[in-house]
């Protein structure tokens, strides 16, 4: 579905995407995890024909993004990180505009708009101006818009950024639903729990380079499924990773003082910190 080969993008001599190689299979829910400024959005902009790569090749459904952007453009839908809706138009008008841009016939257009308004539970807000909607409703409008021309591939760039917990959960449910309905999803996020909750496979990007790739379980297993957190060691908290609880418990029993020690399951944040020496939200 997506094939990226040696992708590089430079801005003013600085490499923001650095030799990226990646393959995302049909039907996958793939998560691209990394801190702000890691190169996630630039990668998505290249994949969606908005930015030219400095070098490398990208294929979407077999179409070369650089050579055949027109064919690529009808293959995907996108929910961008920023609110890219026309705020002077209503929800329905925004959807109608997108449907017209994608050449949907008038009768199909109306049917599809109603269907998607229902899908994202926005029917009662259909005629409200975008400017009057909450962040969660705007995001759902963007999701409906991305699905309108029935693309087989969806790019979701930080789809839950700025949403409250309840709105975030609703967007998660929608993402799962879209994936179960057959869409391949390429999701970028800097929320660890989002990647863990949703993704079949995760790629971790740091300073434009892919530094880890696998299922959340594989990445945690590689690090060690159990983390021992020792607070107040040296300059801060020290972490040790163990393949199972028995090994971790043996280590704990060997420690002189145990009141500031926590044993817990490892997560992707631990994987990220261990690989980069930096927290995902640090930046």
């Amino acid at each position: 579905m997506i094939l990226i080969d040696g992708l590089t993008r430079e801005y003013a001599g600085k490499r923001v995407v650095d030799g990226l190689d990646l393959r995302v299979e049909k039907g996958e829910l793939f998560g691209f995890l990394g801190p702000n400024g890691a190169g996630k959005t630039t990668t998505i902009r290249i994949l969606t024909t908005l930015t030219k790569p400095t070098s490398g090749n990208v294929f979407i459904n077999g179409f070369d993004v650089a050579r055949d952007p027109s064919s690529v453009k009808s293959q995907f839908g996108i929910v961008q990180q920023h609110m890219s809706l026309n705020r002077d138009l209503s929800v329905r008008e925004n959807l109608d505009f997108h449907a017209r841009l994608h050449h949907l016939a008038p009768e199909v257009r109306q049917e599809r708009i109603e269907e998607l308004l229902e899908y994202v539970e926005l029917t009662e807000h259909a005629d409200q101006l975008i400017d009057k909607l909450s962040g969660g409703l705007k995001r759902r409008t963007m999701i409906a818009r991305a699905l309108l021309h029935r693309p087989r591939l969806l790019f979701l760039d930080e789809p839950t950024v700025g949403l409250d917990a309840q709105a975030r959960r609703r967007v998660w449910d929608l993402i799962r639903k879209m994936n179960m309905d057959g869409s391949t999803v390429f999701l970028t996020t800097h929320y660890i729990e989002e990647a863990e909750a949703l993704c079949d496979r995760v790629g971790i990007i740091h300073h434009g380079r892919l530094i880890a790739l696998g299922t959340p379980l594989q990445l945690r297993q590689k690090l060690g499924m159990i983390t021992v957190e020792m607070q107040g060691c040296g300059n801060g908290t020290d972490y040790r990773f163990f393949p199972d609880r028995e090994d971790a418990a043996r280590f704990l029993s060997s420690l002189p003082v145990q009141d500031k020690v926590i044993m817990r399951e490892s997560n992707l944040e631990d994987v990220f910190v261990e690989l980069t020496g930096q927290k995902v939200l640090d930046k």
Partner: protein
């Protein structure tokens, strides 16, 4: 071969209309407010320069009022078209960031450019025609024929493409305001709108002929006062139209994949 060309032309026209359609929806929802705000400043120019300063004056044998009205029509068309296309696109690109959606849509760059420019043309025509209607009541005595309307359309096209160009090149909202202050404002007063170019020194006259509004004023004035067609100025307008259109295409190609 010809069938595929016709099909491509039809698709491009439909896509350009789609791009225009969303902007027309916004214009329709604010049409009353737009009409009032867009005709205020040309009417003020008419009152201040035509009735105030120019009362009793003659330019090349015509009353100053008759002389100045076509100039104000040209500058109304310029301002409304430039702002109608440029400001809207600037907001879409840098504030709403909804222009990305058009760039990612399976439509040609030509359709996108035409659609974005046509809203400027519509706004320019609406403003100019509203002002013409008011002027015919306040200062009758000029002719609005097919040639005049064709030249008005050309004026709107020239400045719409200039607006699109400025918006595509702008990196901030301030850039567009700076462009307006440095290019549009001087053109408003120096582009043959309020005075005859016959009165200015040779060197300055040459510089003023480099402004598109000068030629638009000359052409519209000639058509309004039933004078012979100034072919050189008409060709200059067509030259500016092609220049701005091509420049827009180059910039659009540069910013899209």
């Amino acid at each position: 071969m010809s069938n595929s060309l016709v099909k491509r032309f039809w698709i491009n026209s439909q896509d350009a209309y789609t791009v225009l359609w969303s902007d027309l929806l916004i214009l329709r929802s604010r049409s009353g407010r737009y009409l009032i705000t867009t005709t205020i400043s040309p009417l003020l120019y008419l009152v201040a320069f035509g009735w105030g300063l120019g009362r009793g004056m003659n330019v090349n044998g015509t009353s100053y009022l008759q002389f100045v009205v076509p100039g104000i029509i040209a500058l109304t068309a310029m301002t409304a078209s430039f702002n109608g296309a440029g400001t809207r696109l600037n907001v879409d690109r840098l504030y709403f960031r909804s222009f990305d959606e058009c760039l990612m849509a399976p439509i040609s760059l030509l359709s996108l450019l035409l659609g974005k420019a046509l809203i400027g043309v519509v706004r320019g025509l609406v403003s100019s025609i509203a002002f013409i209607a008011a002027s015919l009541l306040l200062a009758p005595g000029f002719r609005v024929g097919p040639l005049f309307l064709m030249e008005l359309l050309l004026t709107c096209l020239v400045f719409s493409f200039l607006g699109v160009l400025a918006a595509l090149l702008a990196r901030s909202h301030q850039d567009l305001a700076t462009f307006s202050s440095l290019i549009l404002l001087p053109m408003t007063f120096l582009g043959g709108t309020f005075f005859s170019l016959a009165q200015v020194p040779w060197g300055l006259k040459l510089a003023l002929y480099a402004l598109p509004l000068t030629h638009c004023s000359i052409c519209l004035r000639a058509a309004a006062l039933d004078q012979p067609v100034p072919w050189a100025s008409l060709l200059a307008i067509i030259f500016f139209l092609m220049l701005f259109f091509s420049w827009c295409m180059v910039v659009l190609k540069r910013i899209s994949v």
